[in-house]
């Protein structure tokens, strides 16, 4: 094995380890998505195909009632697109880190990007903890997340009839996101951005296709950026003191 291969494998394994704490959330979310698809009316083989090919819990759950209601194809796909709009923001944020790779590799890494893997990547990037072979590291992160999600989704699909809905297992997914975002709330612009994003998302939650989420994200990012640029422009405290 060449030294390069050894380094890339080490980066891959390091990524696999980095995602482990989030895997419980991913497993719970996958389980819930699997259960919901069958309980929502999809036959087992279709539910399996959906979780394998679509691999996006929120879009799958949003599309479900439309499928069962027999909505036209374009309405269902449009719902999927709009529910997935946040991934456009994610892919723009990751672009600078992967711009040097060939298109095929960028496409592969993009397909396996989720809320969990993206947030973990950005946090490591901002803390300067990414290894040199960050694409191999991210591939390791995504591999473990994908395997975990697929196993738990399949389990959920097969065992749907035994899981009571009152357990609220899907809340584990929300809590895992809380744990992911919590450590990033240390700066004032980030805190302000989160507050604005939450408020706008709450006010706009009545909009169809989860558009409230998208509006909230955009408003939050704008608020955080403005706060950040004001902070940069302000004279340093040391001068006045």
């Amino acid at each position: 094995m060449s030294p390069l291969t050894v380094e890339r494998r080490a980066a891959f394994r390091s990524g696999q380890r980095a995602i482990i704490p989030s895997l419980f959330g991913a497993a719970a979310w996958g389980l819930v998505s699997g259960v919901a698809m069958v309980k929502g009316g999809l036959a087992v083989p279709w539910a399996l195909m959906m979780s394998l090919l679509v691999y996006a819990g929120s879009a799958q759950l949003a599309a479900l009632p439309l499928i069962v209601a027999g909505a036209p194809l374009w309405v269902i796909v449009a719902t999927g697109l709009i529910t997935n709009l946040r991934f456009v923001i994610y892919s723009a944020a990751m672009r600078p880190y992967f711009a040097h790779l060939v298109a095929r590799r960028r496409a592969a890494l993009g397909f396996f990007m989720t809320d969990f893997t993206f947030t973990l990547f950005m946090r490591h990037a901002q803390e300067g903890k990414l290894p040199e072979h960050r694409d191999a590291w991210f591939a390791g992160v995504c591999a473990n997340n994908w395997i975990t999600w697929q196993i738990s989704a399949t389990t959920g699909i097969v065992a749907a009839s035994y899981v009571p809905a009152e357990w609220g297992l899907e809340f584990t997914g929300t809590l895992a996101l809380v744990a992911l975002v919590g450590p990033s709330l240390v700066t004032r612009p980030a805190l302000l951005g989160a507050l604005v994003a939450s408020a706008v998302a709450l006010l706009a939650h009545g909009l169809p296709f989860k558009l409230g989420l998208f509006c909230g994200a955009i408003a939050g990012i704008a608020a955080a950026t403005i706060a950040d640029s004001l902070r940069e422009r302000a004279p340093p405290d040391a001068e006045g003191a």
Partner: protein, 113 residues
């Protein structure tokens, strides 16, 4: 119960949804080489994770699925669970502990309140 939809229609729906995931997730990553975002936009995107997740999490906690009404009351089990998880995070970064604490508080609140 099975969806009253034909196999071909379902296959088309699933492929369409798969495409919607792929297109959104790879959009800027694939446009990468030809597209320059500029320093300001790249600085703004540092806040993307925090803001997007907040916009997912907070409505998830405060808006109840049946009826979709805002529930700011302190007996909202999801709010109690999330607050417990947040308190845990102030003390430790351990995600498993955070999930267990949050789910325990949520389940207790759901059963008792």
């Amino acid at each position: 119960m099975t969806a009253p939809v034909s196999g071909i229609a379902l296959a088309a729906v699933i492929l369409g949804l798969a495409l919607s995931t792929f297109v959104t997730r790879t959009s800027f990553l694939l446009a990468g080489a030809k597209l320059r975002l500029g320093h300001r936009v790249e600085m703004a995107l540092r806040f993307a994770p925090v803001c997007t997740l907040a916009a997912i999490i907070v409505p998830d906690i405060l808006i109840h699925a049946p009826g979709r009404v805002l529930d700011l009351s302190l007996v909202n089990p999801r709010l109690i669970g999330a607050l417990a998880a947040g308190l845990w995070l102030c003390w430790s970064r351990n995600i498993i502990g955070c999930l267990s604490t949050g789910m325990a508080a949520y389940t207790l609140a759901r059963l008792c309140l």
